[in-house]
């Protein structure tokens, strides 16, 4: 399997990544060998396996869906990370 340049561009858009022309060329080349490597899985027979579920030895730890307030200083530290804050709201560019 290979990825051509337009596929890389499409995937990069989906992944919200701006790539330079140089990067696109480099990745295209590198993905040849990486995809070749992961393609080796196709030779494994897994027809007897039911997958995508969680393993038998794993269970999610669930708790009640209750809103818990966090510490004031933690709130402040978290909000201080944003570039633009107004009235305790983070400002962003228009969406559309």
């Amino acid at each position: 399997m290979e990825m051509n340049k337009s596929q890389i561009e499409k995937i990069a858009q989906l992944a919200r990544l701006e790539l330079s022309e140089e990067e696109k060329i480099k990745y295209q080349e590198q993905f040849k060998s990486i995809l070749g490597f992961i393609d080796s899985l196709q030779e494994v027979d897994v027809s007897d396996l039911d997958v995508l579920g969680l393993s038998g030895d794993f269970s999610n730890q669930l708790r009640n869906d209750v809103v818990l307030d966090c510490l004031e200083d933690e709130k402040e530290l978290a909000m201080n990370q944003a570039k633009e804050v107004e009235n305790k709201q983070i400002k962003v560019k228009r969406v559309l």
């Binding site: 995937i11 990544l17 490597f37 393993s55 999610n60």
Partner: protein, 490 residues
């Protein structure tokens, strides 16, 4: 006094006897960092004042009669673990100025215990790599040979312990990131069973295999740190509620009749000097009464391929939160003379300009394998192979108690040698990804030297059998002195 050569128990005894204060010990390590780290480059941040404050508090607690094992003991922590009010960068330009708003559970537990955080160590950006060359800031060097890499991604944590810049450190392991650098640097690195140690506050990479674990000078110290950081945490939905063993208690159990599985194909694939050295380890185990049992692990050769589908897939999802809006890198459009119309363009620029080459490579690969039309062929298949690998281990553990493999296929390589070949870098983890995919406890311990550079052996057992792994490793260490050798760095 060379405190950098003492174990946790030895330092604990000095502190408790009043022969040494935590502040003196902290100053000792801060001075070593100051002196040695300009050439080693293991630390991203050093928190001098905060560490002194913590040390003074520890001294007060000691004087009040508190006896916690790690009370007053200075440590370093990989910089992908959140430390409240302090910089947590993940070695990425994206988080270069990020201040964590809360503590990871492991940090909270070590604080309560009274351990002293000295600073944060370098890693491959977001833990993506096996050499620490993918750090956005600088390359960490191997203390045994500064021309060489320390391994990765917990390269800073392993190099710092080997160079005696702290008593122990924390790393994180997703597919080998504690064990491989531990082997390259001649120290002990334990990857606990998946879900044994809380991941809360660990910057997520591959949530299905990420684990935090200790890097130490000997196995006893690994057990002591594990006793503090293990256990259920309601803030981690994958956290296991099984009771935690006292890992220190069973370190010296007699190994007579113990069965250790060895896949000889792994050892025979190494160059002769390495394979001879690993075979010496087998003799040492036999002298301890252990029976060596040849085993076969034919599925292991697919572990790397499955890992490099599952990992990028989870990365593409986990790193999607990093957009530079609520926190993180924000592109300076004005000074670049650029303008954007909408939010989407900001995402593209913030992410495109701050993520490094390997991070972008993994995000693209993961987005691709999860995309429509490829999902079944890649992700679903990889998950099935992961299950097959897990079953293979389960079968092996019907006849043996633990398995021994090399930790790495070779000694530490030179800085720059593999950096332009991502696939070669992915193959670094050939012996260590299998146990990660299966969620097993696995340790790398020093097993000798080849060309004056350390090599390691990996020991792993059934899930939650940390006790078995530590017992085996500790008995080996009582018969060897590889772990007591120190690099000549000053």
């Amino acid at each position: 006094m060379e405190y950098n050569k003492l174990t946790i128990s030895e330092l604990h005894n000095l502190l408790q006897a009043g022969k040494l204060s935590s502040l003196e010990l902290t100053e000792f390590f801060l001075a070593r960092i100051e002196k040695i780290d300009s050439s080693l480059k293991s630390c991203i941040s050093v928190f001098r004042e905060e560490a002194r404050e913590q040390a003074k508090k520890a001294d007060e607690r000691i004087s009040r009669g508190e006896k916690n094992k790690l009370l007053g003991i200075p440590y370093l922590c990989k910089d992908n673990i959140l430390t409240k009010g302090l910089k947590t960068t993940a070695a990425s330009k994206m988080l270069e100025n990020y201040i964590a708003p809360y503590n990871a559970t492991v940090i909270e537990r070590l604080n309560n215990e009274g351990a002293v955080l000295l600073g944060k160590t370098n890693l491959d950006e977001f833990a993506h790599g096996a050499s620490t060359e993918n750090s956005a800031f600088f390359v960490t060097r191997n203390p045994w040979d500064l021309e060489r890499v320390p391994g990765g991604s917990s390269g800073g944590s392993a190099a710092a312990v080997a160079a005696g810049l702290c008593v122990f450190s924390l790393g994180s392991d997703t597919g080998g990131s504690i064990r491989q650098p531990a082997s390259f640097c001649g120290v002990n690195g334990l990857k606990p069973s998946y879900s044994r140690v809380s991941r809360y506050g660990l910057i997520s990479m591959t949530s299905s295999t990420d684990v935090i674990g200790p890097i130490t000078k000997n196995v006893e110290d690994s057990a002591l740190v594990m006793n503090v950081i293990s256990g259920f945490d309601q803030n981690d939905l994958s956290s296991c509620s099984l009771e935690v063993d006292d890992y220190f208690k069973n370190l010296n159990k007699d190994l007579t009749g113990f069965k250790l599985g060895v896949e000889y194909n792994f050892i025979d694939s190494l160059d002769s000097e390495m394979s001879n050295q690993i075979k010496k380890s087998l003799n040492i185990f036999e002298s301890l009464g252990v029976e060596i049992v040849p085993i076969s692990l034919p599925c292991n050769k697919y572990a790397g391929s499955a890992y490099y589908i599952i990992t990028p897939a989870e990365i593409s999802s986990n790193l999607a939160r990093l957009d530079g809006i609520r926190y993180g890198f924000s592109s300076d459009l004005k000074s670049k003379g650029e303008s954007v119309d909408n939010l989407n363009d900001i995402y593209l620029k913030n992410r495109g300009q701050s993520f490094g080459e390997e991070v972008k490579r993994r995000i693209i690969l993961g987005t691709y394998t999860l995309s429509s039309g490829y999902f079944d062929a890649y992700y679903k298949k990889a998950m099935a192979v992961k299950e097959k690998i897990k079953q293979e281990f389960e079968n092996v553990f019907k006849t043996v108690d633990a398995v021994l493999t090399p930790s790495s296929p070779h000694i530490a390589f030179k800085v720059g040698d593999q950096v332009n070949d991502p696939l070669k870098m992915y193959l670094e983890d050939i012996f260590v990804t299998g146990p990660s995919l299966a969620g097993l406890p696995a340790i790398s311990i020093p097993a000798g030297f080849v060309n004056d550079l350390p090599i390691g052996i990996q020991l792993f057992s059934k899930k939650f059998n940390e006790n078995v792994v530590l017992n085996l490793a500790n008995q080996f260490q009582k018969k060897t002195d590889y772990h007591q050798k120190n690099p000549n760095i000053s």
